[in-house]
């Protein structure tokens, strides 16, 4: 009996070890082929939160065609930010992109970015970034969208605040259950910025905090792993927050029609940026990559492929005209990003602790 048990155990151990031995070879050769110069060689390590839905693979391939060997490390916005900051003494990444200004300003504050002026700096609106370390690539509007089959333009809400002040929208909008995502944080940046009061708690007036309280009290909590569009399709809710780039695609998948609200103060824009990581050992190559990726041509192709809105003015010709038109008419909310960045951590904490029910 014992012998048999031992045999089984040994068999398992051998299987596992054989797994290691056998697999080590392809693993190592894979590494070698992608990094001929030993170690990570001349492969650029690129951190991004914008690798989902095939973006990472597309970029790796295009970069390869242009002569750049890149390895994309995908992580959520907050994870990528924390990782960049944690690794600042001995950076692993060479380039980071996709994070919005809020995230990049945190990384910059931790002194983990290297100033660099890309070749295409003249083609973008430098107001959208810091003009020094991180540079804008893609614009994303953070919108309030509603089911246009249920609400006409006139009957729809005119602003976020309508959601909890008008009875017809109460419980008909989805509210977030966590503030971990960039989209949610930007929604609150947009709402709280309107109530800036330096004598108020965390720079926000009591009135402002009351809005937050109402938002959480009257909304229908989001359901994990159930997209807002799925809930709209099933009639559970009729409206909620959405970044502009996903709308067209989701409308198709869930067979719903969604229209968006443009409040009179404008909408918050998330601007995805690119930056050179401080301490990179492949500075030249990384700078060339930034020059290439932000160029009008590449940004144009990227926009075309993923329906995004390039910041690079010359790239807009290649982007989806509907998207370009939408942004042309869009009023951008005037937000003091420095103020937001300074306080966002504390706001998130306060909201999580006090208002989220």
């Amino acid at each position: 009996m014992r012998k048999l048990q031992t045999l089984v155990a040994a068999a398992v151990a051998v299987t596992l070890l054989a797994g290691c031995g056998g697999e080590a070879a392809p693993g190592a050769s894979g590494e070698a082929s992608s990094a001929p110069a030993g170690g990570s060689g001349d492969t650029l390590v690129v951190y991004t939160n914008s690798n989902g839905e095939g973006r990472g693979d597309w970029l790796t391939q295009k970069a390869g065609e242009a002569g750049f060997k890149i390895e994309i490390v995908g992580a959520g916005g907050a994870d990528a930010t924390n990782k960049l900051i944690a690794e600042k003494n001995n950076p692993i990444a060479d380039v980071a992109f996709g994070l919005n200004n809020m995230y990049f300003s945190q990384v910059k504050a931790a002194d983990a970015l290297e100033p660099y002026k890309p070749a295409w700096a003249g083609e973008v609106d430098t107001q959208l970034a810091d003009g020094e370390t991180y540079w804008p690539l893609v614009k994303q509007a953070i919108l309030l969208g509603y089911n246009s089959d249920k609400f006409s333009k006139d009957a729809a809400p005119k602003d976020w605040t309508d959601l909890w002040t008008k009875d017809e929208f109460k419980a008909r909008y989805e509210r977030v259950t966590g503030l971990g995502t960039a989209t949610a944080q930007l929604v609150f940046a947009g709402i709280l910025s309107r109530y800036r009061d330096d004598s108020g708690d965390l720079g926000i007036s009591d009135e402002g905090w009351k809005q937050v309280e109402q938002y959480f009290q009257n909304g229908s909590p989001a359901v994990a792993k159930t997209d807002l569009f799925a809930r709209i399709a099933s009639g559970e809710v009729d409206m909620g927050q959405m970044p502009s780039s996903i709308i067209a695609d989701r409308e198709k998948s869930f067979k719903v029609n969604v229209d968006t609200v443009i409040p009179s103060v404008g909408v918050p824009l998330a601007v995805e940026q690119i930056a050179l990581v401080k301490g990179t050992k492949k500075k030249d190559q990384a700078q060339k990559f930034i020059d290439w990726f932000g160029s009008a041509d590449v940004q144009g192709q990227f926009a075309k492929q993923f329906n995004s809105m390039p910041v690079n003015k010359s790239a807009q010709a290649q982007a989806n005209p509907e998207v370009v038109d939408f942004f042309a008419d869009l009023k951008q909310q005037d937000i003091d990003w420095e103020f937001v960045q300074e306080n966002m951590g504390a706001w998130v904490e306060k909201i999580e602790l006090e208002y989220m029910t």
Binding site: V12, P26, I85, A224, A233, A346, L353
Partner: protein
Amino acid sequence: MSGTPVRAMVRSPFVLVVGVILTWFIAAFLVWPNINVLIATFFPDGSFSGRAAEKLFSSQRAMKALGNSFLLAVALSITVNAVGIFIVLVTYYFRIRGSRILFLGYATTFIYGGIVLAAGYKFIYGDKGIVTSLLLQVFPSMDPAWFSGFFAVLVVMTFATTTNHMLFVANALKGVDYQTIEAAKNLGASTWTILRRIVLPMLKPTLFAVTILSFLTGLGALSAPQVLGGREFQTITPMILTFTNSPTSRDLAALLAVILGLATMVMLAVMSRLEKGGTYFSVSKVSSELQKQDITNPVANVAVHAVAYLLFAVYTLPVVLIVLYSFADGAAIQTGQLSPGSLTLDNYVRVLTQPAGLRPFVVSVVYSALAAVIAVGGLLFVARLLQKYRNWVASVFEYLLHIPWILPSALLALGLIISYDHPNPLVGGAVLTGTTVILLIAFVTVKIPFTLRMLKASFASVNSSLEEAAAIMGAKTLYVFRRILLPLVLPAAAAITALNFNSLLDDYDTAIFLAHPLVQPLGLVIKANTDGAEGTEGVANTFVYTVLLMVITGVTMYLVYGRSGRRRNRKRLPAVPPSGSIDATDVPPAAGSTASGADSRVPAAPVR
């Protein structure tokens, strides 16, 4: 076993060698990184503030969520035992028709868990679920959203976490000496009396142990409350995860994690105290193998069969639906509409034909296997020594080895980064960040507490007279270890290795911070394919990955438990029951992990 003086202990060269290596490992990878991260967290400007505690205790939501977590923990301790004992009895103790098939159904919790499991239950009992639709036809006035809140979370988690019963209680049951049951029968005891007075008391130590496990699983509940808890029943883990991610709130996360970690330790201490009072191990030297019992009362027999098969349906339906839905498109998954015509292989083609292909699977398998083997291999010596020598030095080591239970894995990872991003004398002046080794170190460390507990338990069940006999005949320490002890604990060690392996396969929390950019494990790829893009493909991908992981973990569990289990049934019981005699101190708690967000698959919970 009474205490051994420290002086006597250090006389053995074996002890000294293991002790030196262990001291270095603990100092370098358990104490130093975590002290660094805790200092950075609680003393950001060099001075301590009571801010975190003040904020937390004045937050209604935090207190309520914490309360809910504890409530769930207590309730689960009761319900999981009830269901768990029942399914163990019908698969191993009573003669039930088709018990093999029943076993397969109940064993489904071995291979999946987390968010997909919760989603699976929602497909069935949620407001658009199959069962709800049927019920609505019978009772049109009922609330379609009946399956939500505390009740729903409790039900789902109860059925999801009986894994421990199927592993440990079943093993203990196999160790029950059949001669005592026969004797009781001869004396005229009824089925119920035998069960209550003989069988269950023998299982007590293991039941204590799995009760703590259930308690800790409840404390760390993450995905079931997120999916089914609704507004009324949210737990503390999501908040810990959010705060871990925010540098300015990390002290709150650490404090919450420490609170849960302390609850874990208190629970362990209390249980080991309770344990010491009684003697539960009456495995006789000439025990005979348990034989299945008939339920003599025909009414009871029918009732037990009915409940057993009902539970079988409850366990199996979600798995079947998850597998089915993994062939459907993302929109159908989320709206709950499934038509046979819409099932295609597209999801699998998409996932498996990514440029990265199978590489992440290979990377994860290699990392998990290495970490599992190293953790078990290394701790074999340590567990042996800690079990043999009971003195204050041993206790200190033992407690230090539990550090990974206390902190969320993201904090453990950050600690490793800030401690080893510069040449550090603790590791011979090497820089570890950016190497492939650092993730392996992290994987090994997070598996230490569970591995140690389980190994210690299996060493404890080794009959010491074997070792003494060998020693008398002149065998050296290492020889005794290699030829006597190792073969005896090897089956248990293999099982622990398999559990560790399974739970590391889809790790994200550690890997996200530590993985080498060119050697990225599966967890990162899963995250990239399922997160952010929750719209359509993302959700479908989640299901595909779950099914693929089910296959891998299923194979692993079969290799370790399925085959050896069957042999054990056929052959005579070993003199030393494999892991039947776990005492409550030797529990693999799930907590600590509580805050790691790692209940992505439930097998991970008991295994941490």
